[in-house]
Every structure is written in structure tokens, then in C-alpha cells.
Amino acid sequence: MSEIRIENINKKIKDAVILNDVTLTFSSGKIYGLKGKNGSGKTMLMRTIAGLLIPDSGTVTINGKTLHKDISFPESIGILIENPAFLPQYTGYKNLKLLASLSDGISDGDIKTALERVGLDPDDKRTYKKYSLGMKQKLGIANAIMGEPDIIILDEPINALDEETVRKIKDVLLDIRDKDKLIIIACHDKEELEYLSDEIIEIKDGSITGRKDMADGNN
């Protein structure tokens, strides 16, 4: 069971307001969709939740622990923010194995399962630099869901993926959500976002402008 509480977060980069007094709460067992134009602040909000960006003011509390005060990074999180980035000289499996070594309790079986769930072959001997754009994206998603962390953050996860893979990824995300995990996604495709999300949060110019529960359609 995870809960993220964001309270009055503000962030400026070079005088540009990136996040403006953002207050939100996320609970496990749901998929939250972030909706907004390019540069609206979706990615920066995701980075802030992941602990990658330190806000100028306000707090992010994960399961009662304040980020950058009680904890330096979320205890159980998987992310794909912007472009996937891996070591070009290693295979997909080897890349995930190296990153899994930073976490407790991710087995070789978990890594293979994550790869298979996104449609990659764990025994593929090709190195990451030989991967196509779609394969790189799949590996990024596999890295985020590997070991099924409590919080999963995916920024434009279905970019560069074919229809069949998009269907597969959607099923995987819904399955993970049903295991009481918290998923936050940002996506330009409105239909896909609405299909996947339990709640849609609208962001404009770094501020939250709306919140819609997809179950009852309430704003």
C-alpha cells in the first residue's frame, strides 16, 4: 500500500515557473494519467515525485517519509522518464541485471519476466546499441516494471510502439495496478490515457487545473 502526498510544491528553473503550488495525493491500486501540453510540467512533476528534482519549496511525502529529508529517493520505484537510457555495449538482459543489482529482491526470474511481458526475448544476444527505437522503449518499460515496485512512473510509455505491443503494455499495467501498485503515466494520446487511467490530472503552466475520476466522470 503506497501513498504519495505532494504539498504546495514550487519549482523555478532560470526564472521560468516549472511547478506552481502543486498539491496532490496519489494512492495505490490506481493508475493516474497526467494530461497537458508540451512544457506544461508533467515530466517535471514526475521527476519531482521520483526524487530526481528537488523542489524550491513544498514537500513530497511517500508513505509518511518526506523526500530529501527522511529519504533520499523513493524506496520502491520504477521509472521511464523521457528517453530510455541504457549502456550501449550490453544486452537488454545484462542492462537490467546491472540495474537490478542496486535493488533488493529482484531475481533473474523477475528480470526475464519483465522482458517477456513487454515482448523482448531475454536470450537476445544483440546489444542495446543495435536495438530499434521500439525495442529501446520496451526495455525502458521493462526496467520500470522489473520486480513490480510499489510506484511506477511512465512518461510517454507507448511512444514508438506498435499496436500489438501497446495492447500488451496496457494489459501489463492494468495487471500491475490490480496488485495494489501505484502507477502514474503521461501520454499524448488522449484515448489511450483515458482507457488506462482511473484518474486524470490536468496540468497547465505548472499548475493543476483539473482532476477527473474516470469511474464516475466527476471533475
Binding site: 528553473i13 521527476r47 521520483a50 526524487g51 530526481l52 528534482l53 528537488i54 533520499s72 529517493f73 523513493p74 520505484i77 520504477g78 521509472i79 522518464i81 523521457e82 528517453n83 537510457a85 541504457f86 549502456l87 555495449q89 546491472l98 540495474l99 543489482s101 542496486l102 535493488s103 526496467n143
Partner: protein, 263 residues
């Protein structure tokens, strides 16, 4: 500890580590082969004349010590720049703290630089010691590198030449480690991997020219690392220079890593 293991694995399995090692080994092998071709393997030659660190007959000594900062930085010095540029640091910074990541990377950079410099020098010394005896050179002997009594480790040079070689291999390796940290500390400022790797050499050469010593002492790191000691370095000068490089780099890495936005 997990981040350190990952960084050490990456450092010692990187292609650049092997390239650096290869360059160092080629220079050291060429030096010894040239020495053997020129003077043969029998006769009156001894270790301090044949070891690349103290051999001044050929250009290989100069070549190795001018390139030492690059040999140190090439293995893993530019890795933070690469991680930031590619976004790979995101994968790590959600699983460990920024400070732990920076410390782990610093240790990996230091050790890979140490090995890249110390291993070729060490192998050259052991190969030379296998062919040439560990004689103490006569003070005025032709091709003797016997250092002046006021120079560093003069007693070892006089009485235990092999020990003198080992001391300098260790010192060169340790200095290579802290020089390589410069690449890490400037990673946020530079615009290319090449600049991150080459800047420390430029700093060492320019500071070497500006601070070149004389009989009263030497503050040039470029000169103090060469076991030939053609200028006198006092022990406290070496210690102070080491501490300054270490402190400046450690402070820069700490300041730039602590609250860095991982974008």
C-alpha cells in the same frame, strides 16, 4: 556498497579502460624492447637504467609521463558526463542517493586510473628486473639515474633500487587517481566527453610550465611524478599538491552532486 559494485564493474569492463591500459603497455613494452635492442640483455646494465620510469635514453619516459593524465582519465573519468548526457544517471538516482552515486563513481574512477598507470609501470619494472640486476648505480656512472641526495627517496634509490621503483609506481598510481577525479568534478561544466577527459592533461601541462621548480623545490605535479627527478621535489610539496588536488576535486564533486537536478 551496491552502487560501488556497479560502478567498479562498469569501470573495469569499459572499453576505454582497456584502451588506456593498452596505450600504457605499448609505451612500456616499446621502451624495454628498444633498450634491449640498443644495449643487449647481458653486460653491465642494471634495473634503474632499464625501467621506463628512470630510463632517460629514449623518449618513452617523457611520452608516458606527459600522457599520464590522459591514461588516468580515459578509463572512467568521462563516465559521469556520459551518464548525465544519456540520462543513465536517472536509472541510478532512483535507487541510491546522489551522494552515494558520486562517492561510488569517484572510487571507481580513482581505482581505474590507478590501475591504468601503475600496471604498465609495474609490469615494465618486473620485466626489466627479470633481465637486469638490481645494482646500486655508481654516482658518476654513465647512464646512471642516481638521484641527488636532497631528492625524494634518495636512500631507496641508493640502497634498494627496486624499492625506489615500487614507491614511485605507487605514488604515480595514487596521483593518477586524484588527477582522474578532475574529469569527474568538471563533468557538469564541459560540453563533450573529450573535454572531460583531456582537460586534466591541459591543466597538468600548463601548471607544470608555470610552477616548474629548481634546486629550491618544485610545485609542478608534472615534474614531481617522474621518478627521474630532474628537479628537486620536497616531500611536503608533494603532500601539499596531492591534498590540494584531492580537496578541490572532492569539494567540487560534493557541491555539484549533492542537490543536482537529474534531468
Amino acid at each position: 556498497m551496491k552502487a560501488l559494485k556497479l560502478e567498479l564493474y562498469r569501470a573495469f569492463h569499459s572499453r576505454t579502460f582497456f584502451v588506456s591500459l593498452l596505450i600504457g603497455l605499448v609505451i612500456c613494452i616499446l621502451d624495454l624492447v628498444t633498450f634491449c635492442v640498443q644495449f643487449g640483455t647481458s653486460g653491465s646494465k642494471f634495473l634503474l637504467q632499464a625501467w621506463i620510469g628512470t630510463d632517460y635514453q629514449f623518449a618513452y619516459n617523457e611520452m608516458f609521463y606527459v600522457l599520464l593524465p590522459v591514461l588516468a582519465c580515459l578509463p572512467y573519468g568521462g563516465s559521469l558526463y556520459n551518464d548525465i548526457k544519456s540520462g543513465y544517471d536517472k536509472n541510478i538516482c532512483v535507487k541510491t542517493s546522489r551522494l552515494n552515486y558520486a562517492v561510488s563513481k569517484s572510487v571507481a574512477v580513482f581505482l581505474s586510473a590507478f590501475v591504468s598507470v601503475a600496471l604498465p609501470l609495474g609490469l615494465n619494472m618486473f620485466a626489466a628486473a627479470g633481465m637486469f640486476p638490481d645494482f646500486t648505480p655508481e654516482r658518476l656512472e654513465f647512464m646512471s639515474i642516481r638521484v641527488l641526495d636532497r631528492n625524494l627517496f634518495a636512500m631507496a634509490n641508493n640502497d634498494h633500487p627496486a624499492l625506489y621503483c615500487l614507491i614511485f609506481i605507487l605514488l604515480d598510481g595514487v596521483f593518477a587517481g586524484v588527477i582522474a577525479l578532475t574529469s569527474l568534478s568538471i563533468s557538469k561544466l564541459v560540453k563533450s566527453h573529450f573535454t572531460a577527459v583531456v582537460t586534466p592533461m591541459v591543466i597538468v601541462i600548463i601548471s607544470g610550465m608555470l610552477l616548474q621548480g629548481d634546486e629550491r623545490g618544485n610545485w609542478s605535479v608534472m615534474d614531481m611524478l617522474n621518478p627521474r627527478q630532474h628537479v628537486t621535489t620536497l616531500w611536503y610539496q608533494m603532500l601539499i599538491v596531492f591534498l590540494i588536488i584531492l580537496a578541490v576535486n572532492a569539494a567540487a564533486i560534493w557541491i555539484t552532486s549533492r542537490k543536482r537536478a537529474v534531468l
